[in-house]
């Protein structure tokens, strides 16, 4: 029986495990869908989809080793991952010269580029959603002096810079404060920075951290607006911060659960894993849907150059998240960034309600 193996390259241990599991789940679901119908039909043949996952332990050297193993040892051409920015950057040469199609979660702008014609990003990053959301928020809340707390790591630093620029464009000033990753007590920093702020930006933090900061800020008596322009934080954050503290907070909503396909995915995840879904998971599912479409269209499962060219040309592909295509030519020099709508929500009475729908250009 013929088969195609998809590699999953992510950090299954350590604090990023939830993301990795989301990526694996997406691959699992995508494979299940196809295999259920007897395999992926390409050029008259049916290919069963197999999965091979490797842990990179969130280290660059391990990432290279794991990627080598996927490519050389296992002869894999399609990889879901790498997950972290360091891993994405460190394996870029490898995957490019090996012509391996990758679908990364890395937020770094350097994960994509003309020098990496096989690297795709099926998730929406700060680079995409920051500008339109911030513009909308600044207009709707009239915040002028916003402060932001971010972890001092690659994601934090990246988001800090992106948000700073977006706020500047929207006519507001953002002051970014970084803290060590392990920190759980924010009272000292908040005491200082909240003194003259009229807005608190928490985008880029993990849901729990965002919740903690929010709770501690409210305890210190902060009453101004709070934005979380990034991630899929609402549910967790609500739990950590409590209903009262979270009231009125604006959050980024990556998915719209009123779409039936999306809702189905959420249910499927919960049923299989018994955990709440990681917000990024369905994007990889959508990305794989696009990849499989491209394989069928290109009528090959080996010639990655041909598949990539075909994939580049896809637009309006129906996925679980709505119709998807590629964007990013302007920003990254290559059209490998997924193009999907995203949303702004607000927490009211412990429930998140959608208040705006956005694309790369604007929110409405």
């Amino acid at each position: 029986e013929d088969s195609v193996t998809i590699g999953v390259h992510a950090s299954f241990s350590g604090a990023g495990a939830a993301f990795a599991e989301g990526m694996l789940a997406a691959t699992d679901f995508a494979a299940e869908d196809v295999n259920k119908d007897g395999g992926l039909e390409v050029a008259g043949k049916r290919y069963k989809i197999l999965i091979k996952q490797y842990d990179d332990r969130y280290r660059a050297a391990d990432a290279v080793t794991a990627m080598d193993r996927l490519m050389i040892q296992d002869g894999i051409h399609f990889v879901v991952g790498p997950m972290g920015s360091a891993a994405a950057v460190a394996t870029k040469d490898q995957t490019t010269s090996g012509k391996v199609i990758t679908m990364t979660l890395a937020f770094t702008p350097r994960a994509l580029g003309a020098d990496a014609p096989f690297a795709y990003r099926p998730v929406i990053t700060t680079g995409e959603f920051s500008d339109p959301q911030v513009a909308w928020l600044a207009k709707n809340t009239a915040a002028k002096q916003v402060v932001s707390l971010l972890p001092n790591d690659e994601t934090g630093q990246q988001i800090g810079v992106a948000n700073f620029n977006s706020y500047a464009k929207a006519g507001a000033k953002l002051q970014v404060e970084y803290f060590e990753r392990e920190r759980v007590d924010f009272v000292p920093i908040l005491t200082r920075i909240l003194m003259k702020a009229d807005g608190l930006e928490l985008g880029g933090n993990s849901p729990t951290t965002a919740g903690l900061i929010l709770k501690q800020a409210r305890e210190l008596g902060y009453r101004g607006p709070v934005f979380v322009t990034g991630g899929d934080v609402a549910a967790e954050m609500l739990k950590v911060a409590g209903k009262d503290a979270a009231e009125g907070t604006y959050v980024h909503l990556p998915i719209d659960t009123s779409l039936p396909d999306t809702a189905a995915y959420v249910t499927r995840f919960k049923a299989k894993y018994g955990q709440n879904m990681n917000g990024f998971s369905p994007f990889f599912y959508a990305g794989l849907q696009m990849l499989f479409t491209a394989m069928k269209k290109a009528a090959t499962v080996d010639d990655t150059t041909k598949i990539a060219t075909t994939l580049d040309g896809l637009s309006d592909v129906p996925t679980a998240m709505g119709k998807a295509g590629w964007t990013g030519q302007q920003k990254y020099g290559i059209k490998h960034q997924i193009d999907l709508p995203f949303y702004v929500g607000q927490i009211k009475d412990g429930v998140v309600t959608k208040v705006a729908t956005c694309d790369v250009n604007a929110c409405r």
Binding site: F12, S13, A17, K52, Q53, Y54, D55, R57, Y58, R59, A60, A61, D62, V64, T65, A66, D68, R69, I72, Q73, G84, S85, A86, V89, A90, K92, D93, T108, R110, N152, D153, E154, T155, G156, Q157, Q158, E180
Partner: protein
């Protein structure tokens, strides 16, 4: 004064091992094995560095910090156009100088205290790498570190890089072996075992320890740089607490005495994660269990099995001699 007197047999074994290592690119089924071997060579250097420090009676949990320093120094200089072959050595030297200064202060600490402070140092290095983003690229690290080139030959691909890494590792191994046999090595061992007594034999034990720390950390700096030019990338996450722990693990699992221990530790523990890489969370449980079992049942490291056998022979010999003496 090492009890392990080298016999012709061991020389033959060493020659065979080196020969096999050199031939690896020819019989490896694919390049992945060469990659593993290269990582093994780099690990060996790091573990040998740690072993030298341990020889003088201290354990460094900040070893990764020095590798990180070395990696950044070499990356930054070579990106400015300096030849990587030179910056490797500058990296080692820089790490050594920092180690000498730090060691001079903190080596008055004993045992666990030293471990903890060295560890704190490595945390600071990571923090500085994160904070000084204008120089170090912050959390994103430095991409596009130039490859090493020797006489116009650019070591970009694995089969080209491996011989160089192997040469570096073997040289380190040889120097370490010579060091252990030298008076300085003996002084280190003596210091480790009874510092007060060594001091009263006229040996400046503080200096001996600082030298050991400097050499060991210098090697770490060099190895960190080597790895950076191999991966062509470095970030603050490249050498964290867990890296320092894993070198320590290799040293302990292999054995702390002599140069055989580090070699065994690296040979066992470099490929081990590969066996477990696709088992998700289970791999760390298995790894942890193996580590604990190893410590429980071969507490002096796998290499000590050889030594135990040797010393059993020694006791047998001595008691025979004593009996003979008493009989006559």
């Amino acid at each position: 004064m090492n009890p392990s007197t080298t016999k012709p047999m061991s020389y033959v074994a060493v020659a065979v091992a080196v020969f096999l290592a050199v031939l690896l690119p020819w019989f490896a089924p694919n390049q992945f094995y060469i990659h593993l071997a290269t990582v093994g060579c780099i690990n060996l250097m790091l573990v040998l560095g740690l072993a030298i420090i341990a020889r003088a009676g201290q354990l460094s949990m900040g070893h990764g910090g020095f590798a990180l320093v070395g990696g950044y120094v070499s990356a930054l200089l070579s990106m400015k156009g300096w030849p990587p072959l030179l910056t490797l050595f500058i990296a080692g030297l820089t790490a050594a100088v920092i180690a000498a200064a730090l060691g001079w202060i903190i080596l008055r600490l004993r045992g666990v205290y030293f471990v903890l402070v060295a560890f704190a140092f490595s945390q600071i290095v990571v923090l500085l790498a994160l904070d000084m983003s204008s120089i170090t690229g912050g959390a994103n690290g430095l991409v596009g570190v130039p490859p090493i080139s020797i006489f116009g030959c650019v070591l970009r691909a694995k089969p080209q890089f491996y011989p160089f890494a192997l040469a570096c590792a073997l040289t380190t191994l040889l120097l370490t072996w010579l060091l252990y046999r030298s008076p300085l090595g003996t002084m280190m061992a003596a210091t480790a075992e009874n510092q007060r007594l060594t001091e009263s034999s006229g040996i400046d034990t503080h200096r001996v320890q600082v030298i050991a720390f400097t050499i060991g950390s210098g090697i770490a700096g060099f190895a960190g740089a080597l790895s950076t030019h191999y991966l062509r990338f470095i970030s603050p996450d490249s050498y964290t607490f867990w890296e320092s722990v894993s070198y320590l693990t290799m040293l302990v699992v292999g054995g702390r005495d002599g140069v055989l221990g580090p070699v065994v530790g690296v040979l066992v523990l470099t490929p081990l994660p590969e066996l477990l890489r696709s088992t998700e969370g289970l791999q760390h449980i298995i790894y942890g269990t193996m580590l604990v079992l190893c410590l429980m049942f071969v507490p002096n490291g796998l290499a000590s099995l050889v030594q135990t056998w040797r010393s059993r022979q020694r006791v047998a010999r001595t008691s025979a001699a004593v009996v003979a003496e008493e009989v006559t």
